[in-house]
C-alpha cells in the first residue's frame, strides 16, 4: 500500500506559537473587485510582501480591507537570504512595518539568493549546498530574525540545476538551517516534486527527513513538464503526483497551514477555491487526479505585479 500511517515523534511537537489558519489563497489584484464585493469564504490570504511595500493607492486600500477581515501571512521574494551581499536593513524594516500593519501570522521568504553586487534578478536562484553556504545562511537567518523580532519561515524553491561543489542533499541542508538558526519551514510540496525530477532524488525521502514540527505552512501549485525537466509555472492545476506527496506531508505536519499558489493565467476566484478545496480530499488520502501537463517552452512563474488597469484610467 502506498500510504502508511506515519509514526513520527516530532509531529506532535508544537512549532513556535503560530496558529493553523487552514486553507488559504494568494491575494492577487485580478481578484480585488470580487473579494471586496463578496467577502468570500476562504480561511486566510498570503500576500507577496514586495507588492505592498512603499505602495499607496488601490492595492494599499485593498490590503487594509482584507487585513481587517482575514488572517494574512507575508511571503517575500527579495530577502536574498543566501546572497553574499550585505543584508538590506531598510528593506527588513519595511517588512517589519508591513507585518505590524497587517498583523501578519508569519513572515516567509525562500532559501535562495536573488542577486549580488547590488543587483536583483527577481528570481529565486539556487544555493550551493555545502559547508560554507550553510554557515553563511544560518548566520544570516539569525541576523534577520533579530531585526524582525520574530522567527523567519523559509521555503524550499524549485531548482533547475545543482552545483559540482554540493556536499549536502537539499533536505539535509534545510534541516540544518532550520535547526541551527531556529527558524520555520514553508514546505512547498510542488517544489519538492519539481526538484526531485530535475535532480533525480526521491521526493518522499525529502519529506521523510525534514523536521516536521518546524513546518509552519505548505504550498501546493501547478507545474509544467518540458520533457527534459519540470518548470514551476504556477499556472495550472496541481498534479496527482503532487497531491500524493501533499497527502504524505500532511500526515507528518497536520498542524501546517496550506496555500494554493497560482500566479499566471489566473482563473476566477471560485475556480481557485475549488482547486484549493481538493486539499481536503487529499488530506483524507483521496488523491485528485489531474495528470501531468506538458509544454516544452514553459518558463518559471512570473513575478506577481499589480499592473495599472485600463479601467482605472480615464480622460477627465
Amino acid at each position: 500500500m502506498f500510504f502508511c500511517l506515519v509514526n513520527n515523534p516530532s509531529s506532535d511537537k508544537k512549532r513556535f506559537d503560530f496558529p493553523n489558519p487552514g486553507l488559504g489563497l494568494g491575494l492577487r489584484s485580478p481578484h480585488y473587485p470580487y473579494i471586496l464585493q463578496n467577502q468570500p469564504q476562504v480561511d486566510w490570504f498570503e500576500i507577496i510582501s514586495e507588492n505592498y511595500i512603499d505602495i499607496g493607492g488601490w492595492a494599499a486600500y485593498v490590503l487594509d480591507w482584507v487585513a481587517e477581515r482575514y488572517p494574512i501571512a507575508m511571503h517575500g521574494v527579495s530577502l536574498s537570504i543566501g546572497s553574499t551581499d550585505e543584508i538590506n536593513v531598510t528593506y527588513l524594516n519595511k517588512l517589519k512595518s508591513l507585518a505590524a500593519r497587517t498583523r501578519a501570522l508569519w513572515v516567509s521568504d525562500h532559501l535562495c539568493w536573488t542577486g549580488i553586487m547590488g543587483h536583483n534578478t527577481h528570481d529565486l536562484l539556487p544555493m550551493p549546498l555545502n559547508e560554507e553556504s550553510l554557515k553563511h545562511v544560518i548566520q544570516r537567518v539569525k541576523m534577520v530574525q533579530e531585526i524582525l523580532e520574530r522567527p523567519l519561515v523559509l521555503e524550499n524553491p524549485s531548482s533547475y540545476l545543482s552545483f559540482v561543489d554540493d556536499t549536502y542533499t537539499e533536505w539535509d541542508f534545510i534541516t540544518h538551517v532550520a535547526e541551527e538558526a531556529d527558524c520555520g519551514i514553508l514546505l512547498d510540496v510542488n517544489n519538492v516534486y519539481v526538484s526531485s525530477v530535475n535532480h533525480g532524488f526521491d521526493a518522499y525521502q525529502y519529506i521523510d527527513n525534514i523536521p516536521h514540527h518546524r513546518v509552519v505552512q505548505m504550498h501546493i501549485a501547478g507545474h509544467t513538464h518540458c520533457g527534459t525537466h519540470i518548470i514551476d509555472t504556477h499556472d495550472k492545476q496541481v498534479t496527482a503526483e503532487v497531491w500524493k506527496l501533499y497527502s504524505k506531508a500532511k500526515q507528518y505536519c497536520p498542524h501546517a497551514a496550506t496555500l494554493l499558489e497560482w500566479d499566471s493565467q489566473i482563473p476566477d476566484f471560485n475556480d481557485l477555491l475549488e482547486e484549493l478545496h481538493k486539499a481536503k480530499a487529499a488530506e483524507k488520502m483521496q488523491v485528485p487526479t489531474a495528470s501531468e501537463f506538458g509544454n516544452p517552452n514553459a518558463h518559471p512563474h512570473p513575478v506577481v505585479m499589480d499592473i495599472v488597469n485600463t479601467e482605472n484610467i480615464t480622460l477627465a
Binding site: I55, H119, S162, V164
Partner: protein, 265 residues
C-alpha cells in the same frame, strides 16, 4: 573549490550576459580569475540536460521575466515602436539598468531617461523621437500616480480655507499639492494615443499639437486632465515651491476645479 561570493558573481554574470551563458561564464571566469570557471566546473549536469542547458534556464527566465514587466507597463510605447523595436530597446535598457531594488515597481523608473538618451535626437520639437519620449514619460507618470501616495488616505483633505485667506494672497499653509498629481508638457497629444492603445484600438501616430497635462488619482482612479498653458504653469510653480505666494486672482479661475479634483487639498 570556488568561494560562495565568486560563485554568485559568476552565476549572475552568466545568466545576465546578453550573448548567453557560454559567453557570460567565460567572461566571468576570467574577470574573477577563477581556477575553475567553466560551466562544467561549477554546474552539475542532469541525466537529460548538460550543465550549460541547465544554467540557460535561469538566463532565459531572467530576460523573459523583466521584459514581461516592461511589456505590461508600457503597452502604448510597444504599440508605437512595434514589437521588434520595443524588444530591442527593452533588452538594451535591462542590460544597462539592472534592477537594484527589492521592488519591481522601481525597475523602469529610468526607462524614460534611458529612451531620451537612446532614441536618435532631432532638433525639431515635433519630431518622432520626442513623441516616443513623451509617451514613455506619460506611461511612467500613470504608474507613479496609480501606486504612490494619494489624497484618499490623508486626513483633512477638504480644506475650507483654500480660497479665503483674506489678504489677497493664498499661502502655502492652505495650499497642498496632492502627492498623486503629476504634470507634463508635450508637443504631441500623447494622452489620446495612450488611451486609444489601452482601449485596444489601432490608431495612427498623432500629429503634433501643444499639450499640457495633469495626471491625478481620485478615489483610486487615475484621470488625465487637459490643461491650459497658464493653468499648467501655475501648478508647476506651486509644486516646485510650496512656499510660494500666489494671488487669489491668478488662482481664482481654477480653484473650484482644483479642489473638486483634489489637485490641491
Amino acid at each position: 573549490m570556488n568561494n560562495l561570493s565568486d560563485i554568485q558573481k559568476w552565476f549572475y554574470k552568466s545568466i545576465t550576459h546578453p550573448s548567453g551563458v557560454t559567453h557570460g561564464a567565460a567572461e566571468a571566469g576570467t574577470a574573477l580569475a577563477m581556477d575553475k570557471g567553466n560551466i562544467v566546473d561549477v554546474i552539475q549536469p542532469s541525466d537529460k540536460l548538460n550543465a550549460a542547458d541547465r544554467l540557460a534556464i535561469y538566463h532565459n527566465a531572467y530576460f523573459l521575466r523583466l521584459y514581461g514587466v516592461l511589456e505590461a507597463e508600457y503597452p502604448a510605447l510597444k504599440a508605437a515602436l512595434g514589437e521588434d523595436l520595443f524588444r530591442k530597446f527593452a533588452l538594451f535598457f535591462l542590460q544597462q539598468n539592472p534592477s537594484g531594488s527589492y521592488s519591481l515597481y522601481d525597475l523602469s523608473a529610468n526607462f524614460p531617461g534611458f529612451l531620451a538618451q537612446s532614441v536618435p535626437s532631432e532638433n525639431a520639437e515635433e519630431s518622432w523621437p520626442n513623441f516616443i519620449i513623451d509617451l514613455v514619460r506619460l506611461e511612467r507618470l500613470f504608474q507613479e500616480s496609480y501606486r504612490g501616495e494619494g489624497t484618499e488616505s490623508l486626513p483633512n483633505t477638504d480644506n475650507p480655507d483654500f480660497d479665503e485667506s483674506g489678504d489677497g494672497q493664498v499661502k502655502s499653509n492652505s495650499l497642498r499639492i496632492s502627492p498623486s498629481l503629476k504634470l507634463m508638457h508635450s508637443t504631441f497629444p500623447v494622452h489620446h494615443y495612450l488611451l486609444s492603445v489601452r482601449r485596444g484600438e489601432d490608431v495612427p501616430l498623432p500629429n503634433p499639437e501643444m499639450t499640457w497635462l495633469a495626471v491625478n488619482r481620485l478615489n483610486y482612479n487615475v484621470k488625465i486632465y487637459e490643461l491650459s498653458e497658464d493653468e499648467f504653469l501655475l501648478l508647476k510653480q506651486i509644486s516646485a515651491n510650496p512656499e510660494i505666494e500666489i494671488s487669489n486672482e491668478a488662482v481664482q479661475p481654477y480653484s473650484a476645479k482644483w479642489l473638486k479634483e483634489k489637485f490641491l487639498y
